[in-house]
């Protein structure tokens, strides 16, 4: 029977074609109308370390989360098989290179010793000799269907046919993998050609040799290794998709939202956003230039936020993007933005800390950094996005809020979202608006302009160039000149601080937090950011098991939807409320307590740097319900 949902893991050394496999497959699948979500795990390394893609494709939705076990484990190298031997379903497929069968585990130098020891122990327990060939036999004995291909001889055929130089051949390993997967799930030649053409749009000469191999392998696999995992025809109605990473979704939101100045200092996992903006710096429509985005790589993050603020003062929609270490450097600047009511957006991609921590892995442990960093009190809005579409829309919204209320806005994301790729519909801009707030370019008495007029909470803002104004990090009067007068201080400081109430009153709580599911479930899960997808998927699975789970998704970390959240928890009771987070401390519980007085004492957390997978969340929820456990620490994944 054709399948509606297929999960696969493709692994290999970093920098040897995984990117191509992922790109081609996703394009080919989208070409057939499927919804795809794919995540990437990689070391802080450019070439050689083990990396993998976890990909999920569905005929009836865009998948919201990733999960194990996978139906297909496709290995570019022996290390992948060793590392992921427990990740493949016992009725699944293993695609591997028979040429590597003699490889011994202890000969794999790119593997960390801790990982090797753990795998060694596991194999020992199962009585398996740590040699690839033996491991494959073992997996086969467990029911895994083994697709052994001789990568080298497949590639040398290519050499003869297409005259590819021997040292270039290994670059085509990716098409062996793509072909094997195509054969298993039933992708035809046209789809493969579409996938490769998309990948190699700029290097068309690469399309045919790659298609040749992929089709060859696909034919071989589909005829030799059946029955396969044929995907049913897609039921999704989309006529076109955009294939974007979270970074790109934010960048596209910024383009639509009118960012015309973006400064940044390179840092994982934020840099891809600025890279993307730079490669699309000229905003064109046919021959018409609609504008341009000036992307400035600064000397550090301190300069990045300062330059963005300078551009904002001059009237540009300006933003910067960074992650933890860089955001720490921006803290002083953020405080200046608060004092000077500068509309600025800082896109903050969390990763594993403290310090440089796990620089290429994900986390949600910077919630309070985003909320409280910077000295003194000042209003700030912190928005956290749960998925690709939210990320895109929130980027636009963050820019509007920054200008509407003249406050710094932090757009909080995480590595999981930043680096995962999804098929989304082409953004519909007809539902989006740009609100520039009280931006004025005509000032009656430009030499007597009160930038910080106390007449209103949000003063009319004339950019530099239209009137004479002063800004200072010190407390200031209505003109922007320094003052230490106590009475004026009370007025100015209150004016700024009271904006928070204004924002809270104008943005409905239902917009700032959303309840998914029943109002009185068996269990209420609370989360934010990329937790959203996995909880919603887990809830569906639990439902089938007779457990009713609701999800309270917090989108605005500040201003917090205190009443809505308080009520939702109150109805269910804190005893039946569980925080879910990629952190040790489940910070969201503290934030809820601060804002509602309700102390959540149950939590499901994960801080391995890998995302929470659906299957482990389902298990964790059942454990909490069955055994009354208060805290479950998840750790699945390589």
């Amino acid at each position: 029977m054709p399948l509606s949902d297929v999960k696969m893991l493709i692994g290999g050394p970093q920098g040897t074609g995984l990117e191509t496999v992922s790109h081609v497959l996703i394009a080919a699948l989208a070409y057939n109308g499927y919804g795809v979500l794919s995540g990437r795990e990689y070391h802080s390394n450019i070439k050689g370390r083990h990396s993998y893609i976890l990909l999920r494709v569905s005929s009836h939705e865009v998948p919201k989360s990733l999960t194990y076990p996978v139906d297909i484990l496709a290995a570019m190298d022996p290390e992948t098989v060793f590392t992921h031997c427990a990740d493949v379903s016992h009725s699944g497929f293993l695609v591997y290179d028979v040429g590597g069968e003699d490889t011994r585990l202890d000969k794999i130098v790119s593997m960390e010793s801790y990982t090797r020891q753990r795998i060694e122990k596991r194999l020992q327990r199962e009585g398996v000799e740590p040699v690839l060939g033996k491991l494959v036999e073992y997996l086969e004995s467990k029911g895994v269907k083994v697709v052994g291909l001789d990568y080298r001889s497949i590639l040398s055929e290519l050499r003869e046919r297409h005259g590819i130089a021997p040292h270039m051949l290994s670059r085509f390993t990716s098409s062996v993998i793509v072909g094997a997967i195509a054969g298993l799930i039933g992708l035809d030649e046209e789809s493969l050609r579409a996938g490769f053409s998309h990948r190699f749009a700029a290097r068309k000469q690469l399309v045919e040799p790659n298609v040749y191999i992929a089709v060859k392998v696909a034919e071989h696999v589909s005829s030799k290794f059946g029955p396969r995992l044929i995907l049913e025809e897609s039921m999704l109605q989309h006529e076109e998709y955009m294939v974007v990473s979270g970074n790109e979704a934010v960048a596209i939101g910024k383009i639509i939202g009118g960012v015309r100045f973006q400064s940044y200092y390179p840092i994982t996992p934020a840099q891809d956003e600025s890279f993307f903006l730079e490669s699309h710096e000229k905003l064109t429509d046919g021959n018409r230039q609609l504008g341009s985005v000036l992307v400035l790589q600064t000397e550090d993050e301190i300069a990045a936020i300062a330059a963005a603020m300078g551009a904002a003062l001059a009237g540009t929609r300006a933003a910067t993007a960074t992650s933890g270490p860089g955001f720490d450097l921006m803290a002083e600047g953020l405080s200046w933005a608060g004092m000077n009511e500068v509309p600025i957006v800082v896109t903050y991609y969390q990763r594993g800390g403290p310090s440089t921590g796990m620089p290429t892995r994900g986390a949600q442990s910077d919630l309070f950094t985003a909320l409280f960093s910077g000295h003194g009190e000042f209003p700030r809005v912190v928005i956290a996005s749960g998925d690709h579409l939210e990320a895109l829309n929130d980027a636009v919204e963050a820019l509007n809020i920054a200008e509407r209320y003249q406050v710094p806005v932090i757009h909080l994301l995480d590595k999981f979202l930043a680096n995962s790729i999804a098929t989304i519909p082409i953004p519909d801009t007809s539902s989006m608006t740009i609100d520039r707030g009280k931006l004025v370019t005509r000032v009656e008495a430009p030499l007597n302009y009160k930038r910080f007029s106390l007449d209103e909470l949000v003063s009319p803002r004339a950019p530099l160039g239209y009137a004479v104004s002063w800004y200072t990090g010190d407390e200031h009067d209505e003109y922007g000149h320094i003052t230490e007068d106590p009475v004026l201080r009370v007025k100015m400081h209150s004016k700024r601080m009271r904006k928070m109430e204004l924002i809270a009153s104008e943005i409905p709580e239902e917009h700032r937090a959303q309840l998914y599911g029943y109002t009185e479930p068996d269990l209420l899960l609370i989360g934010w950011g990329s937790v959203k997808g996995v909880v919603l998927d887990a809830a569906r699975i639990l439902e089938k098991k007779g457990v009713r789970v609701s999800y309270l998704h917090i989108r605005y970390m500040s201003p917090f939807a205190s009443k809505l959240v308080g009520k939702a928890i109150g109805r269910v009771g804190v005893d039946r409320t569980v925080a879910v987070e990629h952190s040790y401390e489940a910070h969201i519980s503290k934030l809820v307590a601060m804002n509602t007085g309700q102390r959540i004492t149950k939590e499901i957390v994960k801080f391995t740097g890998r995302p929470i997978y659906t299957h482990e969340l389902v298990d964790a929820v059942l454990r909490i319900l069955d055994t009354g456990e208060k805290r479950v620490v998840l750790d699945y994944g390589a």
Binding site: S234, I252, A306, G310, W470
Partner: protein, 328 residues
């Protein structure tokens, strides 16, 4: 419109110590602004933190008093967002060369069209007299408990090495000369730096106004001194000459223009050649809303065309054709 220096003063009480060199810099600055006839609304003074950092509040043009050391990146954002503005940075030696040294260097590399005026009093004034990066090793000024244990940084050399295309030094008390240099620096298209020797009578009793009066000499007194690069082939030799001059300190300290190279493209020109429309439509001047209803100018249609490489059109017949061999 004729403007006088007093038109460029705010009338706020100036809270520098009596005898401070900053008064001379303020006078020279307002005179230069007046003589250049700059529109106050289109002129921006960006400062850091310190005694020098307060300068913008005394000048009636836009003033952005930023964070300690950060004036240059703020100014860079302002200028690149709207290159029509005249941007002048005022900073202390601690500000620009201590905490802000990385930004100081970066500006030279970029050659953004702006002027940096450094109030060089060799001390941290506002925090009560600690040694700044321009105080020589072994010197003990009034406020120091011990002689300076760190070495001196040469600002003129650093500016030359970083790529500033106009590099000068002046004495704060010679208002006329400083004014002249500020005017030249502002007119120069590129990153301009003026190291202003600024006596601080409160904390620096070594490098005093009297000291400078005795030691300073003008580069332009030498009829053969020509710091201007008129042809790319002169770039190297003129920079070398400037560097040699910059090495002079005691007993005689040169002031005037060390190096002036108008041939290096400014950052704005570089952006223009990359973005095409940068100077006509810089970031701050671009329309991002179409019409009055808030519709973004970049809409679904333009996005689809612009990001074509990200778009996949789903094929009509989604069913896989049996090109691949049937299952056995």
């Amino acid at each position: 419109m004729e403007r006088s220096p007093t038109d460029y003063r705010t009338g706020l009480w100036v809270d520098w110590c009596p005898g401070c060199g900053n008064y001379g810099i303020l006078a020279a600055l307002t005179q230069a602004l007046a003589e250049l006839g700059l529109d106050p609304a289109k002129t921006v003074i960006v400062s850091g933190i310190g005694c020098s950092g307060k300068t913008p509040h005394y000048v009636r043009v836009n003033g952005v008093h930023t964070l300690h050391g950060r004036a240059i990146p703020f100014a860079t954002g302002v200028k690149l967002a709207n290159p029509e503005l005249t941007v002048i940075v005022e900073g202390g030696d601690g500000d620009l060369l201590g905490i802000g040294a990385g930004h100081f260097v970066a500006l030279g590399r970029r050659n953004v069209d702006m002027t940096v005026i450094m109030h060089d009093n060799q001390v941290y004034g506002l925090t009560k007299g600690q040694a700044s990066p321009t105080l020589p090793y072994g010197v003990q000024t009034k406020g120091l408990a011990k002689p300076n244990i760190q070495g001196m940084l040469n600002p003129v050399l650093l500016a030359l090495a970083s790529g500033y295309t106009f590099v000068a030094r002046a004495l704060a008390t010679d208002v006329k000369h400083l004014k002249q240099l500020i005017k030249q620096a502002v007119k120069h298209r590129g990153a301009a730096f003026i190291d202003v020797l600024q006596p601080c009578p409160t904390y620096n009793n070594v490098y005093t106004a009297q000291f400078y009066r005795k030691t300073v000499y003008r580069l332009d007194e030498d009829p053969d001194w020509d710091p201007v690069v008129r042809d790319p082939s002169q770039e190297h030799s003129k920079k070398m000459a400037a560097m040699a001059k910059a090495h002079e300190w005691e007993p005689r300290i040169p002031v005037g223009v060390f190096y002036h190279n108008p041939l290096v493209p400014s950052f704005e020109e570089r952006l223009q050649s990359r973005l095409g429309n940068y100077l006509e439509e810089p970031p701050a001047r671009q329309t991002i809303v179409s019409g009055s209803d808030g519709t973004p100018v970049v809409n679904t249609e333009s996005l689809r065309r612009m990001l074509g490489a990200k778009v996949i059109t789903v094929r009509r017949s989604k069913r896989a054709k049996p090109v691949i061999a049937p299952m056995p």
